[in-house]
């Protein structure tokens, strides 16, 4: 089992990472990769979406995106040392659940712009089912357990991103299930 974990400022090359997974062993029959990107819009927590439907009809139609506003920058903070250990533990859990041949987790930190790559999860296995499932598991756990914090800058102001209940629910689906 080959594991590659990297927390880095610099960008990664999906094709290169795919080749590493593909070439990791001649038993590899499936490679699944997921890459997460910076969106140019993030929900603005200061604007309550519930209020949106009550917006005065005189409001310019361009303001219909009032629950979302364009970001200039996304910054990722992590806890050096601890984050690496948590990612290793998450990969180890995936290895216990599925028969994996190689796993790659790359997460960028620092300042990123819209369309930039943030995260790569790649899994190589003999068959596709375990590669698909393990990749989803790794992302679900990474989003809820690894010590990264996102903030966005819009109009010169920094705002921390709130954690999402939907991410917690996505990770919870793996609890108690027997995918061994």
């Amino acid at each position: 089992m080959t594991t590659r974990i990297s927390i880095q400022q610099q960008d990664f090359d999906l094709a290169e990472e795919y080749q590493l997974l593909r070439q990791s062993d001649s038993a590899v029959g499936a490679v699944v990769t997921f890459s997460g990107l910076v969106r140019d819009f993030e929900v603005d927590p200061e604007v309550d979406p519930e209020v949106d439907s009550e917006v005065d009809s005189e409001v310019d139609s361009q303001d219909q995106s009032s629950t979302k506003s364009a970001i200039d920058l996304l910054s990722l903070q992590h806890y050096p040392g601890m984050t690496e250990s948590l990612l290793e533990a998450i990969v180890e859990q995936a290895n216990q659940r599925w028969n994996l041949i190689a796993t790659t987790v790359i997460h960028r930190v620092g300042d990123l712009a819209p369309k930039d790559q943030i995260v790569l999860v790649g899994v190589a296995s003999q068959h596709r089912a375990e590669a698909f499932e393990a990749a989803q598991f790794l992302m679900d756990y990474l989003k809820t357990q690894a010590t990264f914090w996102k903030s966005v800058r819009r109009n010169g102001e920094q705002q921390w991103i709130e954690s999402k209940a939907s991410d917690q629910q996505a990770a919870a689906r793996w609890d108690g299930s027997d995918n061994g």
Binding site: G36, L76, Q77, H78, Y79, G81, M82, S85, H107, I118, V119, M139, L142, K143, T144, Q145, A146, T147, F148, W149, K150, S151, W160, I161, E162, S163, D167
Partner: protein
């Protein structure tokens, strides 16, 4: 001395907090910060905030020793 770290939004509330403190548990640290930094203490009281000692998630009553690194961790938002 105990070394203190505040991550994510907690860092915004902790800009004036000294980087070291004398305390025997993370709960005591929170208590000690209440008088001078009430906004931060209120944030630390949120049930979603986790605490780590030497990079391991622990309970708030974990005993601390000289040189321990205590970090306060709001809900994570990576990926």
């Amino acid at each position: 001395m105990i070394n203190l770290l505040f991550f994510g939004r907690l860092g915004d509330f902790a800009k004036q907090v000294p980087s070291t403190i004398e305390a025997s548990t993370p709960a005591e640290i929170r208590q000690l910060l209440t008088a001078e930094f009430p906004d931060l203490a209120r944030e630390l009281d949120q049930p979603q905030v986790l605490v780590s000692v030497n990079k391991m998630i622990v309970g708030w009553d974990q005993p601390l020793f000289d040189g321990s690194e205590v970090a306060f961790l709001p809900p994570v938002t990576g990926g």
